[in-house]
């Protein structure tokens, strides 16, 4: 695949205005699937979370999961949407083996929620109102693993293996209207929007929202129009943008790629593009074609959903604080500077910092761990920081540092152990024997050994040259493999000199 030519980002924005649109799929964390009583849990053995409905077996009939409807209404309300008095399901027909029944049950012309708005605030303080077109209920599709070519089991043939566990998992798809006027902030708007949706569904408790597991998936629609032109340009739909960082990168990449093509007299093909996390590029997928005629029609096996005003108001009363409002409040409560708070927001880790504070850590310690060491490791490993460690474990780590059990340096080693899956911080401390040696007896033995090796040190200290203690402290820390509190060692050395 030839590398696409890109235009400088700033230059692209001088010539064109980017217009964005996002489709975010949220997997709901209900106990069971959208239309069947099959378990909805991640990581089960292939094809063990199925009922006849999930496989579309003859005679099986779908029934709507009430909890999924409540979750969808809550999400719709959180998105500022109106909830439809009457909403119904529709069949989206297509031939692809990720659905055994050759159609997906979705919603078409009567979604459960429509016309909303989400407020986001950028690091600069700029506020953007993202217009929401609709949020509709649907079911997820199964998972295909493509095998192929000469290494495949069926020699020379290419084939796919299907696990239908994910087929029928409840999804809400949130569709924005075209987002205009973002200009140079376009990549950050993309990231911040998806980040807000993620925080929103976590706060609502309706999704695990782990992007690396596909609980939250984003397709980014991007088009450019020449400055001053009203008509929208041709858009591309970049699929598979499954981390916050990727959303930002993919938007930036498509702006630069499309600008190069347009400025050289070319035109944009309306197509699906695939995002490649490793190379940071998009590649052309399937162009829009006749096959995209999904022949939607009302699902005859399901009845309309008509939530009562009472239910809607009950759910509205339970809504948590809107994410952007929460950000403003937390910034004040935590006493962070603009820069410190931006640091957290830019890293997309506010939910984690917040959860860590809730688990007992100080705001500063929570911020320091998440935006410091954890973000660094995430960056090195090329994964989301959230996938590395839980808020509870970070709080536990901070507590061990506060209690003097760990120095910062030891705490980083413990974190490494936690990330490697060795257990909680306390378990790693125990297993690796990493705690600070707080037993003065052990320290005094090491100090005596060091003093014996450097007999002139005590005299120097007594002569008032306190800095001479440094050599002994260094030797003791080395003997303790760094697992001592240097300040305590210093105290003990000075006490020895007074004796």
């Amino acid at each position: 695949m030839a590398k696409a030519k890109l235009m400088d980002f700033d230059k692209a924005l001088e010539l064109y205005e980017p217009v964005l649109g996002f489709e975010v799929h949220v997997e709901l964390n209900t106990e069971t699937k959208m239309f069947s009583a099959a378990p909805n849990n991640f990581g089960a053995a292939p094809n063990t979370n199925l009922t006849p409905v999930c496989l579309g077996l003859p005679g099986s009939l779908p029934v709507v999961n009430e909890q999924a409807v409540r979750y969808s209404i809550s999400l719709g309300l959180a998105l500022g949407c109106s909830i439809a008095e009457s909403s119904r399901f529709a069949r989206k027909n297509y031939f692809y083996p990720d659905m055994a029944k050759n159609y997906q049950i979705s919603q078409y012309d009567e979604p459960i929620a429509y016309e909303g708005e989400v407020e986001i605030e950028l690091a600069s303080g700029r506020v953007i109102h993202v217009p929401i077109e609709r949020a509709h209920m649907e079911e997820d599709a199964g998972k295909l693993t493509h095998m192929g070519g000469s290494t495949g089991r069926i020699q020379g043939a290419e084939y796919s293996m299907v696990d239908y566990n994910r087929a029928g998992v409840p999804l809400v798809e949130i569709v924005t209207k075209p987002i205009v006027g973002t200009n140079e902030d376009a990549p950050e708007v993309g990231r911040q929007y998806v980040s807000i949706i993620r925080d929103m569904v976590i706060d609502l408790g309706i999704s695990d929202a782990k992007m690396e597991r596909g609980n939250l998936r984003c397709d980014a629609n991007i088009s450019l129009r020449p400055r001053g032109q009203e008509k929208l340009g041709t858009r591309t739909e970049t699929k598979n943008v499954n981390s916050l960082r990727s959303v930002e990168r993919a938007v930036r990449y498509e702006i630069q790629r499309q600008a190069y093509i347009l400025s050289n007299g070319g035109s944009i093909t309306q197509e699906t593009r695939h995002w490649h996390e490793d190379t940071g590029e998009t590649s052309a997928g399937r162009p829009k074609s006749d096959a995209d005629d999904y022949r939607y029609f009302p699902e005859p096996d399901l009845l309309p959903v008509q939530p009562t005003a009472q239910l809607i108001e009950e759910l509205r009363a339970q809504l948590p604080e809107a994410p952007t409002l929460r950000y403003r409040r937390l910034k004040g409560e935590w006493g962070f500077t603009d820069l410190e708070f931006q640091d957290i927001q830019n890293s997309g880790l506010l939910t984690e910092v917040s959860a860590t504070v809730a688990a007992g850590a100080s705001p500063q310690a929570a911020r320091k761990w998440w935006t410091g060491e954890i973000a660094r490791v995430a960056n090195v490993q090329g994964v989301e920081a959230t996938s590395l460690v839980s808020a509870e474990n970070v709080a536990a780590l901070a507590a061990l540092v506060d209690a003097g059990t760990l120095t910062d340096k030891l705490a980083r080693q413990v974190l490494e152990g936690v990330i490697a899956g060795e257990g909680t911080p306390q378990q790693v401390v125990d297993a690796r024997g990493l705690a600070v040696v707080s037993d003065d007896g052990a320290l005094i033995i090491a100090i005596d050994e060091a003093l014996a090796a450097q007999p002139d040190v005590l005299e120097k200290i007594r002569d008032g040259k306190v800095q001479a203690a440094g050599a002994v402290i260094g030797a003791v820390m080395k003997a303790m493999r760094g697992q001592a509190d240097a300040a305590r060692v210093r105290e003990l050395v000075l006490e020895r000199a007074q004796a």
């Binding site: 209900t30 292939p46 027909n93 290419e158 293996m161």
Partner: protein, 106 residues
């Protein structure tokens, strides 16, 4: 977004398009036959529009029922992997094997 659904004239091109979508191979004689048949069916159903004025809502269900839900509880009809795969023409390591259709994810 929804397309307008004014009943389209059934032409051989429409039938050909539908056959492609449905993955059904049709010969020219079948296309001719189906064009006439489908045209007849559509024009019969179009008679509904003579009585259905815009203020009459579209019906998707003949019985006035709504909000039929199921509690969010795992049922007792969950299949084992063996049962789930029992009708599969081919399987491997607990998965259904299908011929590869690359790059056509919906």
């Amino acid at each position: 977004m929804p397309e307008t659904s004014s009943s389209p004239e059934i032409t051989p091109e429409v039938v050909r398009h539908l056959s492609e979508l449905a993955k059904i191979q049709l010969g020219e004689d079948e296309i001719t036959l189906l064009t006439a048949d489908l045209g007849q069916i559509v024009s019969n159903i179009a008679k509904v529009s003579e009585v259905a004025t815009p203020d009459i809502p579209a019906t998707s269900h003949p019985i006035p029922l709504q909000n039929v839900f199921r509690p969010d509880v795992v049922g007792d009809n969950v299949l084992t992997a063996e049962q789930a795969l029992s009708g599969a023409p081919e399987q491997f390591e607990g998965r259904f094997v299908v011929s590869a259709i690359l790059g056509e994810e919906q």
